[in-house]
Structures are given as C-alpha cells and as structure tokens.
Symmetry: C2
Amino acid sequence: MAPKDVYIAVIGAGGVGKCFLSQLEALTKRYSANPSSPKLSLVFVSRSKKVLYSPKYTALSYDNLATTLADSTQELLALPKIIDYLAAAPAKVVLVDNTSSQDVADQYPAFLSKGISIITPNKKAFSGSYKLWQDIFAGAASSGAKVYHESSVGAGLPVISTLKELVDTGDEVTKIEGVFSGTMSFLFNSFAPTEGTGGKWSAEVKKAKELGYTEPDPRDDLNGLDVARKLTILARLSGLEVESPTSFPVQSLIPKELESVASGDEFLERLPEFDSQMEETKIAAEKEGKVVRFVGSIDVGTKQVKVGLEKFDRSHPIAALKGSDNIISFYTKRYGANPLIIQGAGAGGDVTAMGVTGDLLKVLDRLS
Amino acid sequence: MAPKDVYIAVIGAGGVGKCFLSQLEALTKRYSANPSSPKLSLVFVSRSKKVLYSPKYTALSYDNLATTLADSTQELLALPKIIDYLAAAPAKVVLVDNTSSQDVADQYPAFLSKGISIITPNKKAFSGSYKLWQDIFAGAASSGAKVYHESSVGAGLPVISTLKELVDTGDEVTKIEGVFSGTMSFLFNSFAPTEGTGGKWSAEVKKAKELGYTEPDPRDDLNGLDVARKLTILARLSGLEVESPTSFPVQSLIPKELESVASGDEFLERLPEFDSQMEETKIAAEKEGKVVRFVGSIDVGTKQVKVGLEKFDRSHPIAALKGSDNIISFYTKRYGANPLIIQGAGAGGDVTAMGVTGDLLKVLDRLS
C-alpha cells in the first residue's frame, strides 16, 4: 500500500518547474478525491533568491503560488539546511529538482542517504563524475529512498524506463543510436532536409535561436556537451563505466575561431564566414544520396561512445525525423536486426514536466 | 520494501511460456545472489493436460522442468482449485497467465479478489466484455493485488505503460494510430513496399504462413479480430467504454466466399482467385503516390475506433515500417502535431516474454 502522507519539495519554479507545479496541483486535487490515494502536500518551493516553505510541514496553497513565492521574505536556506528540514519531516518526502544546477546535484547522495527520494530532469548528477553516480545509488540503497530521472534524456519520452527494463529483464543491449537534442534535430532537419535543399547553416542557427529552440548562447547547444551528457547516462545504464561526458569523442560544431568570441550575438554575427565548412559536409553526403545528422551512439560491445555528424540514407528513420523530435533506437539481442525505436518531442516544458510527474507516480507506488 | 518471499504460478509453458520460464529462472538466480531482493519460488506450472505443483509451496526445480512437467502424473486442478491453492499460500502470489484462454481470463476477478496478482500477455481478459474489464479492476482494488498486461499489445514494446503514464500525468490523448499486427505488417510491407512492386497478395500470405508469421489458419489473422482486441484495450485505457472488439467497424481481409471453407489449406489454395481485389486496392493507392497498410485507429474525441485498410504517403512512418514491426503513434495535447511513436517487433516468444517479465518486476516493486 502507498503511504498515506507524502511531502513534496520543489527546487526550481520557472520553465519546467512551473509546468511541473501545475501538473502536481492537478494530481493533488485528483488524489484528494480518492480516499485510497496518498495525500500530497507541497511543503517547500524555491527559485533563485526566493524560498517559500512551511516550517511545520503544513501544505502550501497553490493559489497565486508564483506571486507568493516572488514576494516571499523567508530567509534563504543553504542546501544542508534544506536537507535537515526535509529529513525531519514526519512522513516520506520527495525532492523534485527542476534545476540544472551542479550544486544541487552534488547533494543528491546526502538527500538520499537521509531517506529523501529524488525525481529530476537534471542531467548533471547522472552525467557528472562516475563517483557521484555511484554515491547516488549507494545513498538510495542505504536508506530505501528512490531516485528517478526519466526526463534527463528525451524529456517525457520513455527512454530510461525502457532501457532499464531491457537490462533488468536480461536482454543484451548491443547498440544505442539516435538524435538526442531537439535543437540539433531542428537544425539538421532544416539545413539538410530529405526533400528540397534547405537553408544556409548560419541562417538556420539564427532562425532556431529566434524561435527559442536554442540556449541564449547557441554555442551551448553546438558544442555537443548536452548530447554527450545524455549519452553518458545511457551508457552507464547499459553497464559501461563512462568516467565523464568528456571522456569520449564529441564533435563540436563551433568553428575554432569562434570558440572564444565574447557573446552569443557576436558568434551569430560571424558564423556566416564559416558556412562553407558545413556546406561541404552537406554536399559530400548528398553525393552518396544521403543526409547529414548530428547523432550520438553507444556500442556496448566495444565500449565506444561518440557524438557527432553522421550520414544516413534518406529513408532511414533518423533522416526522416520531423521538427525538433528526438529518436532513440535500441539494438538488442532479443530485438535482432530491427531496433526498438522511441520517437517524439524531446524538449519543452510540458513534456519534460510530464516525465517528472511520471517519476513521481512511480515513487508513490513504491514508497511504503 | 519489497516482500521477502513471492510465489510464482505459471499457466502455459509452451511458446511465450517457455521463454518466460527461462527469463524467470535467470531472474530468480540473479535475485538469490542479492540479499535485499525478494526470494522468488516457482510453485505451480501447467500446460494443456499437465500440471506440476508443490502442495507445500516449496520451490520447483528448473532443472529439466519441461520434461518433469511432461511426465507429471499429478492430478489436473480445475481453476477454482488453483485459486484455492494459491490463496492459501503463506506469502504473496503472482499468477502468470501465458495462455490465450478465455476460461482462464474469466477467472481473473476471482484470483485478484483473493489477493493473487496477475501478469499476462493474454488479450482475452482486457478485450472481452466491458463487465469483465470492470470486474478485473474492481477485484484488484478490493484486495490490493496488482494486474499488468503490457504484452497484450505490441509484445514487449512499452505501449500500455506509456499510454497509462500519458493519462495518469494528466495529458489528453486525442488519437492513437498504428500497425498492431506483426503478421499484417509483414504482409503489407511485402505486398505494397515503398520501393519496388511487391508480390501477389495470395503469394505473400502463403509465404508468411510458411515463415511462421501467421496463425495455423491465416484467416485468424486476416479477419482483423486480433487487431480489434488490441484497439479495444487501448481505447478503454484512454477512457472510452468500448463494449467489445466487435462493437466497432473491423475490415476483414477474408473474401466472403472463403469465410466458410473448411480448412486453412483450402483457403490458401483458393485465395489466388481473389487477388484482383487486393491488386485494385494497391493500384488505387499507387495512383495517389501512396501505399496501403492495415491499421487500427482510435479517435478519442469522437469515440471512433476502427480497423482496416488505409493509404499512407511513402514517407509516413507507418508506410516506412520494416519486416514484421509494429508501430504505435500517440497524438496528445502535450505532444502537439508530432506524435510520440513507439516502434519495433510486436510479436515473438522472447520479446513477448520480456514484457511479462517486465510486468513481474513492476509487481515485485509494488507488493509490500
């Protein structure tokens, strides 16, 4: 039976955090109408420089929550104080980390060893040092706390749960390959479409930025690190002891000369000077009847992980991707020649928050 | 914490059952090496006309299990006796129904209300009458027993878990569409390929039968009922009160004149007489630059469920399917214009058994 009372603490209340709070409010209402469901109480919520919490663990109200938080004059709590506060709660606690903060991630083992479960889309904890990865799962095992991070790869797509189930039921994953970045997907689906010619590289990057598909500085997408982090997580779940997201080859799409220019705006201004490089790559692929895509792959047998440009036949599912969709193909012993494929939006507030809410349901089912 | 001891009872030990028993043996061994894992004991296994069980609930040996079962002289147990036997066990019990028997399915409410959890690929229970569907979930709710049936749609593909998570996290599923039969997938990918011409319809059916891709009588695939059963399950999980798999339009690919011929062999012999019908359908699609596929779809808003032939652009993911793969597209409010897609082998002993083993892991995590 699920526990009767569960306290929820949320760090990060903008973007994904805002969407999650809205989903949590709906879930809390639905549960309150069903006497056999646990009673969910939001007791802590914070964003940069603001915190709102209930010292006696009474539930915060969702009415005007964003405003109440913005106007809050409660004193900020350092992470160790947050841990103390949550560890002293008179019922089970789930911490929802909706930030991308390394500082918060570094404290996961401390939260978990105190029995506080964690759900999060934050990639940092699971793609940082291998030691942090080990400490996180050791912390959880020592206390029985749960830790889920479905949205750290492919947002709400069932990527991590599927990989775990393949491994846990005894299948042998041989290779994982896919497009793991919505930004890169959008850029290459426009730059090198399967039909028609596509625009200039620098123009597509500019357009993606204008549409909000890139980070404020597009170099934070083009350096490949975001994809490398996701590959690190999947490789580790496949059993490879990957030390860090910089311990395997990652192709950066930032021209050397623009790596150190001061701002994202200056980068965008000068990017057209380097369009010929990407154009050559595109034409080389076209000569083989193919298109170029930015993919990540893990060969489990040879332990090779890599991120960068690859060429694909126009009819290949990776080439035929649309919009900013992600695609992830799992090649396994049981599935044979045709992989198990998962495809769809891999970014966006609502679908990322959905992965987090889905993890909350899993934790609630498993806490007792 | 998961319970310490769990008893497993398996009905059906050929095909999927055999693959499942092999996965269960491996899981049991892995768990026995980890003191914090539950101890799994196989206490009952049966196949048609044979049963092997341990009256005092000691674990049966996996060594030569198939032979021991085949040679068993234990008296057969009627279903009510099996329920009594399992309900009297001194720990939690999971029943694994690897049959496609309606008789077993009809007893699910009785098993569940006695606290016996059920995992199964058997479609019959969830696509029979709507009353049986309600009784099953009422039985589970009354006792806290769990019921999972991932492999009843798309074998080991994460179809049901994904749909449940979309619904449970508050997304609004608007439409589900896909190829739900490995047999139909193989037939149409060969008959109307996206490149090249493909063979005659009757020849493709014959080939599929020879390769073991059809039921012994191919009409059991071509009547569309298997797909209709899967659609019934998904529609109900989406909130539609579908009365039965015959309560919505299902297109049969069996020519009227051959519906009542005595045998599958006679059917195959006479099928070439009707090739022109399917050829016309194929040519009509080609004139629009499309290919024909056998699909099922659920429009949640208009409550329309249907199964039959549809035309698709050659670049559509449903047209581009390979081999005997299934593809399932979920259109939802959160995912917008591009659906969440799951694709891969949707039939076969090992991948079907994997879905069952995955369900067992979910039950073990949730029993306490």
